[in-house]
């Protein structure tokens, strides 16, 4: 059975925050401006982003609220009543509560009765996990419609108070701790939602899901992006192993870290997965009209792309599309926020029959996920 994305929605909290305003919102740690901010922002090229905290680092929208706002917009635009939704799948890196799962909270906020729920836990690729489960549910004919929501509230992890409290962390020990600061200037907040149905919308464009695949390489690589340990190889404790949560925080076990040295591997594994799909005949590079990638093309300026071109399977840059530079890197929410704008933007004309390849890599422990969509008209 074919399954279609028949409606989308997105929610970005607050006004767009420009590059030079970012530190004013997240706060200067111990009152000192970061010496790494400009360098990291220059590299990621994100011009504006959104935060669900204000300049006093007070939360303006909970993660549940953001998810619900995106979901409501998606349902408002849909040709099906919310009572027709049989499943709610919600993805996030960190919900408002460690327990219960965020889908319960979003369901309550939306007032959706008696439906099946799923919360996926991970980082960027958790959105694809939720989407795949919902897609499969419809393919099995268990539901006629499923709502998939992905929401991220990273700024609560990135505000100055987190770093100021970590007085015994690697961040405090070293004057410059690139790995601990890197994501501070990368990530921001937002939510996206997709409605899946077993038939296309009666009007406008729908996106048929042709296939979804994922390849995880956690068995081979160390952890690259994480929260929950102090970032020292010899210390195997995770945050709940400390006598108190306060001690975990002081030791830096609640800081978000990226092992920047390992980051190249996610691009390489991304290319490997893509070539595997080409080899299996699943993905046909010449048929790809649009390439939506959770990372931006300049991150991929690597020799390996020249190799893909030489091997005849490169995707020309004019087929890449992203809104990362204006909406920010919202982790798991990125692809859904991207799809929502892609279908509405005047920048390109999306035509019936066109194929869209989506790629969501997760550097956490190297998971790469892929999806192909075909544009159909109701």
């Amino acid at each position: 059975m074919s399954v279609y994305i028949t409606s989308t929605g997105a929610f970005l909290p607050g006004p767009p925050i420009a590059i030079e305003e970012v530190e004013g919102v997240l706060g200067a740690v111990n009152g000192k401006p970061s010496s790494l901010r400009v360098q990291i922002q220059k590299a990621n090229k994100i011009q504006t982003r959104h935060y669900a905290i204000d300049s006093n680092q007070q939360t303006t929208h909970s993660n549940t609220e953001m998810a619900s706002n995106a979901a409501s917009q998606c349902l408002d635009r849909a040709f099906v009543a919310k009572e027709g939704v049989g499943m709610l799948a919600v993805a996030t890196t960190q919900g408002d509560h460690p327990a219960p799962g965020m889908a319960s909270m979003v369901q309550a906020e939306l007032g959706l009765a008696d439906l099946e729920i799923l919360t996926t836990h991970g980082i960027c690729s958790s959105s694809m996990m939720a989407l795949k489960a919902a897609w499969n549910s419809l393919r099995l004919d268990e539901h006629e419609a499923a709502l998939v929501v992905s929401s991220e509230l990273a700024s609560r992890l990135l505000k100055k108070q987190r770093y100021e409290a970590a007085t015994h962390s690697t961040f405090a020990e070293k004057r410059i701790d690139f790995n601990t600061e890197f994501l501070r200037w990368m990530l921001s907040d937002g939510a996206g939602a997709l409605l899946l149905q077993n038939k296309p919308a009666p009007k406008g464009m729908s996106l048929r899901i042709d296939w979804m695949r994922g390849f995880s390489h956690a068995h081979a690589f160390p952890t690259c992006m994480s929260v929950g340990s102090a970032g020292r190889v010899e210390d195997t404790r995770t945050w709940q192993d400390y006598d108190s949560y306060a001690e975990a925080e002081i030791d830096g076990a609640l800081l978000l870290r990226q092992d920047v040295r390992l980051l190249d591997n996610i691009l390489r594994m991304g290319v490997d997965g893509y070539l595997r799909l080409v080899e299996e005949g699943v993905s046909k590079p010449l048929e790809v009209d649009h390439f939506l990638c959770h990372y931006s093309s300049h991150h991929f300026r690597d020799k390996i792309l020249d190799l893909l071109d030489a091997a005849g399977v490169g995707i020309p840059e004019e087929r890449w599309w992203t809104n990362l530079y204006t909406r920010g890197n919202t982790g798991a929410a990125s692809l859904f926020i991207m799809l929502d704008e892609f279908l509405r933007t005047d920048e390109i004309e999306v035509k019936e029959g066109e194929k869209i390849l989506c790629f969501v890599p997760e550097s956490g422990r190297f998971n790469t996920t892929y999806m192909q969509l075909t544009v159909v008209k109701g």
Partner: protein, 243 residues
């Protein structure tokens, strides 16, 4: 089997791109996967994982160099053997391989100097015999290079050259940083990063010339996969001493 695509405009008009014939394109797709799988699996080799984790020591470095030396010496032997196995119809590739062998046949001396600069004794590195993996790798490469017109060895070069480039790109500086050793201890590694784009162009030219049917694709890719597995075996076996 992979379908050949048509060449698309390069994102970055570098010197190291060229239009390959469709068989060579398909071969390159498979070679890329063989390489990426090899590179990923190297991360599981205990000695190399310590580079990733930041726990690599001077002793690890000495151990690595001791175990690499035999492969470097034998490397120049199979390359020259391969060159002599090509007939006059393969004169172009033979010339390329001969000049490559001339470039690298004394690399082991560089490696020995690195060993001494890292605090090791010259007699220890010179007295090291081939480890279990080096035996297998060397045996396989000598066997393949003794066959007439061994074009499949392009697959071996792809993996071994790729590793040289990886050493220069991501190991050398990191090893210095972790161990406090100087540039003099990693010159064998950094040396291989030089003229990388020139090497790639030369490789593409050879591939385009000899990879012209399905059999050629299959043999080149298979040899790449075998060499990748045996090279990893060599690196897995570094902890075993013989003397």
């Amino acid at each position: 089997m992979i379908e050949g695509g048509t060449p698309v405009a390069s994102m970055d008009e570098g010197v190291d791109t060229m239009d390959l014939n469709p068989h060579a394109q398909v071969c390159l797709q498979h070679l890329l996967r063989a390489w990426l799988g090899f590179e990923r699996d190297l991360s599981t080799v205990p000695l190399l994982r310590r580079i990733d984790l930041g726990t690599y020591t001077v002793e690890d470095h000495l151990c690595l160099l001791r175990n690499l030396r035999q492969q470097v010496i034998e490397g120049s032997r199979w390359i020259t053997r391969a060159a002599s196995s090509f007939d006059r119809h393969h004169a172009e590739i033979r010339s390329t391989i001969i000049s490559h062998a001339v470039d690298e046949h004394r690399d082991y001396e560089l490696l020995e100097q690195d060993y001494v600069a890292s605090g090791g004794r010259i007699e220890d590195v010179q007295g090291m015999e081939r480890n279990i993996g080096s035996e297998a790798l060397h045996g396989y490469l000598m066997h393949r290079s003794s066959r007439p017109n061994p074009i499949d060895l392009l697959g071996a070069m792809w993996i071994i050259e790729g590793l040289g480039e990886k050493m220069a790109r991501s190991w050398a500086e990191r090893i210095q940083e972790l161990t406090g050793l100087s540039e003099d201890s990693t010159r064998f590694m950094t040396y291989h990063g030089h003229n990388d784009s020139e090497h790639m162009l030369r490789f593409y030219q050879m591939l385009d010339e000899v990879c012209i049917n399905d059999d050629a694709v299959a043999s080149i890719v298979k040899t790449a996969k075998v060499v990748a597995r045996l090279y990893r075996l060599q690196l897995e076996e570094v902890q075993h001493g013989f003397k």
